[in-house]
Symmetry: C2
Subunit: 505 residues, 2 copies
């Protein structure tokens, strides 16, 4: 087999094989740690070959399933293909694949949704059992067997270190000039041997540029030339732009009050369209010399770098549209020293986030009048994606902001509800809530004042009187008037939606 010049280690060249042969090394019941974070840097050939083999096994009456661990979400060739083949028994830590989401919500697949910063440490701590195989997409293999990472790092370091066997996909679609953009920190340990993470600024490099890998563990290498597939961003709508505008006004106010400067603090921007709109809002702002310390480099961040507004963006993955991916490849030398990809145990580490003091902006499903946030479960039970890194950031941010339209499903759902149907972020972790209606600055406010501020500034006018009505009655009839709440009614809006398809009355 002719191998590409991307595999420089002679011993490893001999491990090149077809995707089918590599897939056959995975057995039913195996726990497999795959690369991938957002639609970036995930293996593409092996999962599809494996899905085919599992389809065949199922047809032959063999109930073949695997456990699947990744960095976060991946692309359709991985999560989509394996979910379609009904191949996954257990999935962690994050998913946004629509087929898989359906299976999870039909109760056909087990999904363990956890803080992204917890994944690597808990795997090392032995809490989730053995990792049988790692399947990692890389840009190339160096003479010494070390690996040049691709467009995401995620948990790759941990999977390679912990797995019994390693399978690599060397994807020539990734530009070799990416070498040097990654920063892999090898200083983590189990307690009592943990030491401070020596990062002071979002732009610091504290590790090495390649992944270590014991060549003896590599059981197969697949050569591919396949693009990453990220979901495209729809054009910015007026609602998102209005939300971004409110947030820009607020940040300017903070500068005026001396609580921030015009260089702000490292930005963390969550997944979703509204978060991307906020990044767009920064383009026409007075803020400059920005840094990002975030999970994913979206199009909006690339724009800020292009504009010279952002000096450096640290993340664990790209989450670019196809157009931005092309722009990145065409101007890679420009971006090389402005983007750093790190393991997610570092990009999401509470120690680093609290030290840097991020300005965090995340999307949400709903907020209640007290400012509890539901990021994950529609009507309390149906999971959308997962908590991802939002809990790592919100509790440790300098300013934790949540952004969302005040309504969903054409207005049949109010994003501001009497009581969240599921809580991911508690009031203590939420300083600012923004909808297209306005911004609620909740710092220092006790519960009842939080409620007044959120109802007044964030709720949609159609729902505001209903919220006021509920809150007034709660203030009269609740057992305790600290956080007035009526168990008989708190979730009645969700129940009404389930029964009548609208929260309206």
């Amino acid at each position: 087999m002719v191998t590409s010049d991307r595999i420089k280690n002679a011993q490893l060249q001999s491990k090149v094989m077809s995707a089918d042969d590599a897939a056959s090394l995975i057995k039913s019941g195996d726990t497999v740690g795959m690369s991938g974070f957002t639609g970036s840097g995930y293996p593409k050939a092996l999962p599809q070959a494996l899905a085919k083999q599992i389809d065949a096994a199922h047809a032959a009456g063999d109930p073949f399933k695997i456990g699947l661990w990744t960095g976060a979400s991946t692309g359709p060739e991985l999560d989509g293909a394996l979910a379609k083949a009904d191949a996954i028994k257990y999935r962690l830590p994050y998913n946004s694949d629509p087929i898989e989401r359906e299976k999870i919500n039909r109760g056909e697949m087990d999904y363990f949704d956890l803080h992204l910063s917890h994944v690597a440490p808990m795997v090392w701590e032995g809490f989730f059992g053995n990792l049988d195989v790692a399947v990692i997409e890389v840009t190339g293999v160096k003479e010494d067997g070390s690996l040049i990472p691709a467009t995401s790092i995620g948990n790759n370091k941990t999977w390679i270190d912990r797995a019994d066997k390693v399978i690599l996909e060397v994807n020539t679609w990734h530009d070799e000039r990416m070498e040097g953009m990654h920063d892999i920190y090898y200083g983590t340990a189990l307690p009592p041997n943990r030491v401070p993470i020596p990062m002071i600024h979002a732009s610091d490099r504290i590790g090495q540029t390649t992944l270590r890998c014991d060549p003896h563990k590599v059981v197969g290498i697949i050569e591919t030339n396949l693009p990453d597939k990220n979901a495209p961003f729809p054009p910015l709508d007026d609602v998102s732009k209005t939300i971004a505008g409110h947030l820009m006004e607020f940040l300017k106010w903070e500068v005026k009050k001396g609580r921030l400067t015009n260089t702000l603090l490292p930005l963390q921007s969550g997944v979703g369209n509204v978060a991307n709109a906020v990044l767009a809002g920064l383009r026409d702002s007075p803020f400059h010399d920005l840094l990002a310390y975030t999970e994913v480099i979206q199009d909006g961040m690339m724009d800020l770098i292009d504009d010279g507004k952002m000096l450096c963006a640290s993340s664990t993955a790209f989450g670019m549209s196809d157009q931005a991916a092309i722009r990145f490849r065409e101007n890679l030398d420009f971006y090389r020293d402005k983007i750093i990809l790190r393991p997610q145990e570092i990009s999401n580490h509470p120690e680093v986030i609290r030290r840097l003091g991020t300005i965090s902006m995340n999307g949400m499903i709903e907020a209640d009048i007290f400012g509890n946030i539901n990021s994950t479960h529609v009507m309390g039970s149906r999971i959308m994606n997962g908590i991802g890194g939002s809990g790592d950031f919100t509790r440790n941010a300098y300013l934790s902001c949540f952004v969302s339209p005040s309504f969903a499903k054409k207005g049949d759902i109010s994003t501001i509800v009497p009581h969240v149907s599921h809580a991911d972020h508690i009031t203590q972790d939420v300083q600012v809530i923004v909808t297209e209606q306005g911004l609620a600055d909740l710092r220092g406010l006790p519960p009842k004042m939080r409620a007044e501020t959120i109802i007044e500034n964030c709720a949609h006018p159609d729902y505001r009187p209903l919220l006021v009505d509920y809150f007034e009655r709660a203030k009269k009839n609740a057992l305790g008037l600290h956080t007035p709440m009526l168990p008989s009614e708190a979730l009645s809006w969700h129940q009404r939606f389930l029964e009548t398809k609208t929260m309206r009355r």
Copy 2:
């Protein structure tokens, strides 16, 4: 006025005055930062004098009120006296005083309950406005004007640094030999100037033994000789002992599995009786050379130190019974190098907690079948104490355990409910739940398996069939079957209790 030899600085000796005179320096509308954490190290004379003056002001038609910030809870001479005088408009960050609790729950007082690790940084960030006066109890004043702390540190460093004026209570009840036990770290900063906290082991000393204080800011010094007042611990009951026993078995199992050693990892033990019982359980365990990294040194920890089981305990305060306080004073030279008191921004810092990897054991009000925890709000609305440091520890612990009897109010309340009426800790932050019924090890379990494990192992037999019944119907009828939940019923147990005074059917 003859001053005690505790005030060694000549300039400050001249500031000695009566509690009444010092209290008159506080004006209506002032925000006052007082020392105090648990019933330890809080000012005792000034608050009572202030309460008297406020009583008089109220009688004269003057609506005198202050904002009150502390470390955490204090004693009856502070929170109790001021609450009784209706003197507090706004209180942060924690309270366990019964009079104040009543006022808060009657809606007569604003209370802002926040993560203890957030308090000092957010005050520095300017999020809560100006601090007018600091009132700090100390053991003594040194020649150079620096202060020897007393039995708690809490936020004292921040209050002294930030307040316009400082009033000291020099309390000769505190033993002077305490000097040297405290470790005040002055390396914190606002971002972008934060650096790693140089602590590697729970027993490390990283700061200085005294509090810095600009003598020009000191406007008054009161001399007192008054004991701390901590709530006594009731004798251990069988339920608590059984809970402790389950936890000990679990820890032994973890050692057997190689996930811990017999020296465990630094222990954090929450407030409350069950947590104290767990500490008692460690006395007869095979574990040794223990460390504590916690908020409060309770009697149970003193016992472990006495036994030679615990090498060193780090905390921000004592929370000892009167008997333990006497024991401490009588054997101070023995305890001197085995106990370290730090500012709560360090004792509760996520960076340090995650690095050390604590084993955290906290009490709770209720847990739901998925393992969400309510630590604060009875029936979702009536606050008990506050979240305190539980959120700082649970999300960053090596193992986060919650302990509680499976029932409250003689069995009319089930501690395990279909859905928490208020969420303080989300499923991702809870690895273990223990009641007298048994222990649920939730690591790696997706929601439905968590529910099965919790119902089976933790619920009281009287309520178990009701929980199974709810869960089975939820698995059939919920919108999503990832976290099956019925909005129409999720809070019905709480509603039933409100209507019928029992959750039983």
